[in-house]
Amino acid sequence: MKKTKVGLFIPCYINQLYPQVAIATLELLEKLNVDVYYPQGQTCCGQPLGNSGYEEDSKGACNLFVENFKEYDYIVGPSGSCIYHVKHHFDILEQTPEVIKVRNNAYELCEFLVKILGVTDLGASFPHKVGLHKSCHGLRGLKLGSCSEVMGPHFSTEEDLLNNVKGLELMSLNRKDECCGFGGTFSVFEEAISVKMGKDRIQDHLDSDVEVITGADHSCLMHLEGLINRNKQPLKVMHIAEILNSSL
């Protein structure tokens, strides 16, 4: 039988600025015996352009994405918002069988681990008080978990994974799923509000006795980290892949 092939998608900003997140993602998938490949010549899913209104100009990047990943059974990336973009906004391309295949098979990392591989315990150990930032595109867009404003049973893919990490204490926040204010180019064009929203999210984690903020979308974490470092606050920021891959 043909083995399932997974194409590893590393978003542009993670590739350039947070290689440790990409490494952790790759190592996690390899640990689970996934047949994982990293297609060369990857750039970006086109989200920064689309969200800024320049969807037309992102077609080149989107087509390249499809070209890079069309041969894989699954496309897995450590970023909810990029995966959301592929799944929901690639309708600007002609819907060829390749485009449809790529859109249907793109998965955010946590979702892939829990829903496709059926694994929640990765044998990780991380003895710290952790606050989970539920990024909006993953939460409300990809439905990685239940949202506080939608009525129905509680579920969370990320919590399922973190609850199985040895020594990890998942802290509860006052506002469980409020946006951090990153929002791509929003962070620059609506600078004042973006910063205020980020500060408020951080304060919630501080009030809840958190040591490490984690999440499945490093763009939100980059924004929060920028504020934490500027204000010299006693918090660390780590992508969920790094925590799930840690065996301290």
Partner: protein, 455 residues
């Protein structure tokens, strides 16, 4: 002024922003608790959305049916294609009754049509009778929220305002005292009014009657005391049958304030003996919005304000930052349809977090429409030169792996080696309050190549 600029000004007073945010978050949580008590809440939203979709697809028929039934009840029905016509019709009714004093129960449509200044110019006294509306009217400001029009004002600010306009004593913002003084003041206005104007929450096609929802009973008081009642409605306020009220009345109050139902759901089906009732049905850009496939669902809106309460940007920028009658997420998808140029910054006043779509009782895909408006605006409106150049260049770079690799390396080199002043300056809005990521190692591409060579 752009939303971002107004929001920045609002953010100068951080304590006020925190207070504003908390007040609205409190309402959002009340809404959650209240919705949790309704079994099948999500199904109810689906039903509400479905009924509205039906209404919009058959709007012409429902409107004609409504008009015919209203006329049978002896109601005078008028049609206005725009704000100007609406105001003229109101005025003609006032002239007919020789009316000099008007009481109004909250109506966002009359705000949209700028009825107050129009009537005031003609020497008519118009009193907004909803307490919040009266407060902003005294302050000569527009409402900053459609359900909580004075949410941006503290009790202490209201105290000062009442001292100035109503001659109250200083009370350090004692709410009981202020409300009782407002009640006395308004009672006096109700008793002397010639004509009462109300909005319409729901117009029922199969009965020809309208329903107005208030918490203060001010619509009732106005209508029952005045000689004539003018109800002003947008064409999208129609619901097909009276039984559908069961869906919308349950959705509306819970979404708006977390109440099971508004204190008064007043049904007006015909004029009282010896009095007159008029209904003005207003388009004012709505059919045009209806014609835009991507944005027509914005007309589902039942004006509950839930999207404002949940919106983390609205809560921190205040309603006036939107500079439109309907602020917040729903206003940001309605306003570009009215004036694309003037409101072109509003669809960008969002992180597209999607919470607005989740709370919307009639399931408007608000955040998706915000995304779509952005595409339209970039095509149709002149864009800032730098923004355009940066994004267009990014489009080219991201489509070519070689260029991308070079750009990535250059950026990382700059972050690592350039002196601080070159990175943190006026052009870098990110760096004003946030540090940039620290660059330590190779990028992932380089790491991966090395590992494979070594391995």
């Amino acid at each position: 002024m752009k939303h971002s600029e107004k929001a920045e000004i609002f953010n100068k007073d951080e304590a006020k922003v925190n207070w504003h945010d908390k007040a609205l978050w409190y309402v959002r949580e009340k809404r959650d608790n209240s919705a949790h008590k309704v079994q099948g809440w999500e199904y109810l939203r689906e039903l509400g959305s479905g009924i509205k979709a039906n209404v919009l697809s058959n709007l012409d028929e429902y409107l004609i049916q409504f008009e015919s039934n209203a006329k049978k009840n002896g109601i005078h029905v008028h049609w206005a294609s725009n704000a100007e016509e609406h105001n003229e019709i109101v005025n003609s009714i006032l002239v007919k009754h020789d009316a000099k004093k008007v009481v109004k129960s909250k109506s966002m449509l009359t705000e949209e049509c700028h009825l107050n200044p129009y009537l005031e110019k003609k020497g008519i006294e118009v009193i907004d009778t909803d307490l919040g509306e009266r407060i902003v009217q005294l302050a000569k400001e527009p409402p900053s929220h459609i359900v909580l029009p004075a949410i941006h004002k503290t009790k202490e600010e209201v105290d000062v305002l009442f001292q100035e306009h109503l001659g109250t004593k200083p009370s350090q913002g004692n709410p009981e005292y202020l409300v009782s003084e407002a009640r006395k003041h308004l009672r006096n206005k109700f008793l002397k009014a010639d004509v009462a104007i109300t909005g319409v929450n729901f117009a029922v096609a199969d009965t020809g009657g309208v329903v107005v929802c208030t918490n203060e009973g001010n619509a009732d008081m106005g209508v029952h005391l005045a000689k004539a009642h003018i109800a002003c409605m947008g064409i999208e306020k129609i619901i097909p049958q009276e039984k559908h009220l069961g869906v919308f009345l349950r959705l509306l109050a819970r979404s708006a304030t977390g109440q099971p139902i508004t204190t008064y759901s007043s049904h007006f089906n015909k004029a009282e003996e010896g009095k007159e009732m008029h209904i003005i049905i207003v388009d004012n850009g709505r059919t045009e919005q209806l014609s835009r496939e991507d944005f027509r669902a914005s007309l589902h809106c039942i004006r509950c304000g839930a999207c404002m309460n949940t919106c983390p940007i609205y809560r921190r920028s205040g309603g006036h930052s939107y500079d439109y009658t309907i602020p917040g997420p729903i206003g940001s998808i309605l306003s570009p349809g009215k004036d694309l140029k003037k409101h072109s910054s509003l669809p960008f006043a969002s992180t597209l977090c999607g919470s607005c779509s989740n709370v919307c009782p009639v399931k408007i895909n608000i955040h998706e429409q915000l995304y779509k408006w952005r595409q339209v605006i970039v095509k149709e409106e002149k864009q800032p030169v730098i923004k355009k150049a940066v994004l267009k260049t990014a489009g080219v770079v991201l489509s070519k792996p070689g260029l991308y690799d070079f750009a990535g390396k250059s950026a990382r080199f700059a972050l690592k080696n350039f002196p601080k002043f070159m990175i943190y300056n006026k052009l870098n809005a990110w760096g004003k309050a946030r540090d940039l990521p620290e660059v330590k190692n190779d990028n992932f591409d380089e790491w991966f190549k090395k590992r494979n060579k070594d391995g």
